[in-house]
């Protein structure tokens, strides 16, 4: 039976650290689930960490000179090079421990970037980091557009979503391409750990961050971060909307451990996608035909995911 301490909050059998490594007083929007995701990830990561952050919402809301919201060593440089900066830090520390005797306290190197800084401009640096096998946990906080600069589309913006550079109009339904599958791209690099997560399932998220840190080599965790401002939903529904993303199959929660797929949140009967889409202004222009298209695609992809779980558990490489 775990005992609560003054440093932790007991929730069921879990002890959640009280320490906020991402201090309150940051300038994220009210109801920002990305800020929540960062906060929860930090609870799993702990203070023995160096964080490398891309330009984006979380960087801007937390690091306005002359202050900082960060209580761990933290570095931001540019938009597209998180994977490369993290690689340099990891390589340097390995060498400094070996060569110059700095203490090897098992310090984690964690890269944090948004979907913009990962799926688009940051993809090359991420791929390089994964291919070279650096012992870094890379977390993509995906709010499905370039939110910090005013809601412009990214390759992670879902089909049919309206953004400022993929607006819904008389001759367009908004984003005309399907969301780029970053977890699959990461998995194609044959790294030990890949996972999807959402702060609406907070314990699943924290466990995945912990497992990502424990993996020897690169790990990639992709976190769906509900953005009430950009998705045009009520801030108080940030957790509900995230849960619906998972429960409709739009954003399944799974992990790939050395090539073996696990559905960590199994949804035996998917809710209709319209339950999820109807709560968000960015989808309000969609026709029943568009929604049917989205539903078909979600069904197909979820079935394919289940198939992968089955095949990889049988030892078949997918």
């Amino acid at each position: 039976m775990v005992e609560a301490t003054s440093d932790t909050v007991k929730m069921g059998r879990r002890l959640i650290p009280k320490q906020e490594l991402f201090a309150p007083g940051h300038r994220a929007c009210a109801g920002c689930a990305e800020a929540l995701a960062v906060r929860l990830a930090c609870k799993a990561i702990g203070p023995n960490t160096i964080i490398v952050n891309a330009t984006g919402c979380m960087e801007v809301v937390s690091s306005q000179l002359p202050t900082t919201s960060w209580r761990v060593p933290w570095i931001h440089t540019l938009f597209e090079n998180t994977g490369a900066v993290a690689s340099g830090i990891e390589a340097a520390r390995k060498t400094l421990v070996k060569k110059r005797g700095i203490p090897d306290g098992g310090t984690h190197v964690v890269a944090m970037a948004g979907d913009g800084g990962t799926t688009d401009i940051g993809l090359q640096a991420l791929s390089g980091m994964l291919e070279r096998g650096h012992d870094v946990l890379y977390i993509c906080f995906d709010n499905e557009a370039y939110m910090n600069t005013g809601i412009q589309r990214s390759s992670s913006t879902p089909y049919g979503a309206a953004t400022t550079t993929s607006p819904a109009g008389k001759v367009s339904i908004g984003q005309v391409t399907w969301k780029k599958d970053l977890p699959e791209i990461a998995a194609a690099h044959e790294i030990p750990y890949v996972a999807t997560a959402c702060p609406s399932y907070p314990f699943d998220l924290m466990d995945k961050v912990t497992r990502g840190l424990a993996a020897r080599g690169p790990a990639y965790v992709h976190i769906l971060s509900v953005c009430p401002t950009g998705w045009r939903c009520n801030p108080e529904l940030a957790i509900k909307v995230g849960k619906l993303a998972v429960d409709t199959g739009v954003f399944p929660l799974y992990e790939i451990v050395s090539g073996v797929y696990n559905l960590t949140v199994n949804v035996p009967e998917l809710k209709p996608v319209s339950d999820y889409l109807s709560l968000q202004g960015r989808f309000r222009h969609l026709s029943p035909e568009n929604i049917k298209q989205i539903q078909e695609r979600v069904n197909k992809k979820y079935a394919a995911l289940r198939e992968r779980v089955k095949l990889t558990h049988e030892g078949i490489v997918v």
């Binding site: 690091s63 570095i75 900066v85 993290a86 690689s87 340099g88 390589a91």
Partner: protein, 401 residues
Amino acid sequence: MHQNAGGEGKIAKRVGLEVSIAVAEAVKLADVDVVAAYPITPQTHIVEHLAELVANGELDAAYVPVESEHSAMSASLGAAAAGARAFTATAGQGLELMHEVLYAVSGMRLPIVMAVVNRALSAPISIWGDHSDVMSVRDAGWIQIFVENGQEAVDNVICAFRIAEDKDVLIPTMVNLDGFHLSHVIEPVTMPDEAGVGKFLPPLSYPFALRPDKPVTMGGFAPPGIYTEVKKGQEDALENSKKIVLKAWQEYGDIFGRYYHPVEHYRTEGMKTLLLTMGSYSETASLTIDRMRDKGMDVGLIRLRLWRPFPFDEIMQAVKGVDTLIVLDRAISFGGQGGPVGSELRSALYNLPKRPKVIDFIAGLGGRDVSPDDFENIVKRGMEMSRTDSIPAFQMYGVKE
């Protein structure tokens, strides 16, 4: 031109080495911790030899074969921020690709050393040497040094670490050597000995290294009320670094017997006409000076070694009493009022009550040789023009029209 003494009073061995290899050996002597590099002609032999040294255990460093130059400088940035001694090298297009990262590194005051093997810029693509790559990063806030031969390349790579890492400097430093004309030629080099380098170059102790027991935030954003003050701090540091550049060069000379200066003089005593060059063709120019002096022509040579911070004082001194300053630019600044060096010199001299006429020639672009005859023609033409009142902003030498 320099005394070649070995360290600690020994007579050191002079060997023939390809300059790229010599540069890599100098990096090994500096005992770097991380090399993150991407190959590009004509820098490749530097990064290849470094890879060999690491693979054979001769250099204990992490070799990070990054996937582009942008990542090479970014990974170097990360390594330096973690407190490691980081080195990289690039050329031409590679320097352009890492352009924005250069500003980040200098703004964040990280002591990275980089060898730039100067190469012409596309388009059209040219792998051959000129200075257009480095001239496009004049404002990036780096300390920038030019070398003229293999020995200087070795010595200044080592000095670069000493300068960059000084706690009163903490500014990234670039050593420029001409593509092919230096990188790929075999030159006589005296490698400094390990003990001497150990005496000259203390271990790196970066004050803000990322570590969990002393959490710092690097790279916060500056609102308008703060950005200017940060930049002033950076500029002050770059200006003040000159003192340490001079100190480092002095100390290096005292140990190894080879002394370097922001502006080098060759037979300038009493001359009214000076030629100014940068980089490897300075040696060719010096041959021409000898030839012309034998013919009774009065001309001397100054070579610009320290490019940033710009050595105003040494230039002022050098042009005292000089009527004509003929500048050789190895890069073109399209649509501007001169090549980069020519226009900066004119600007530097503008407020002097007595200043020489500055005649700016652009030559040697895209790897074209500038022969002793070419230098002689340039000096003659410059001297002729100086006697007239119509001096163009600049002229391109040797264009076949």
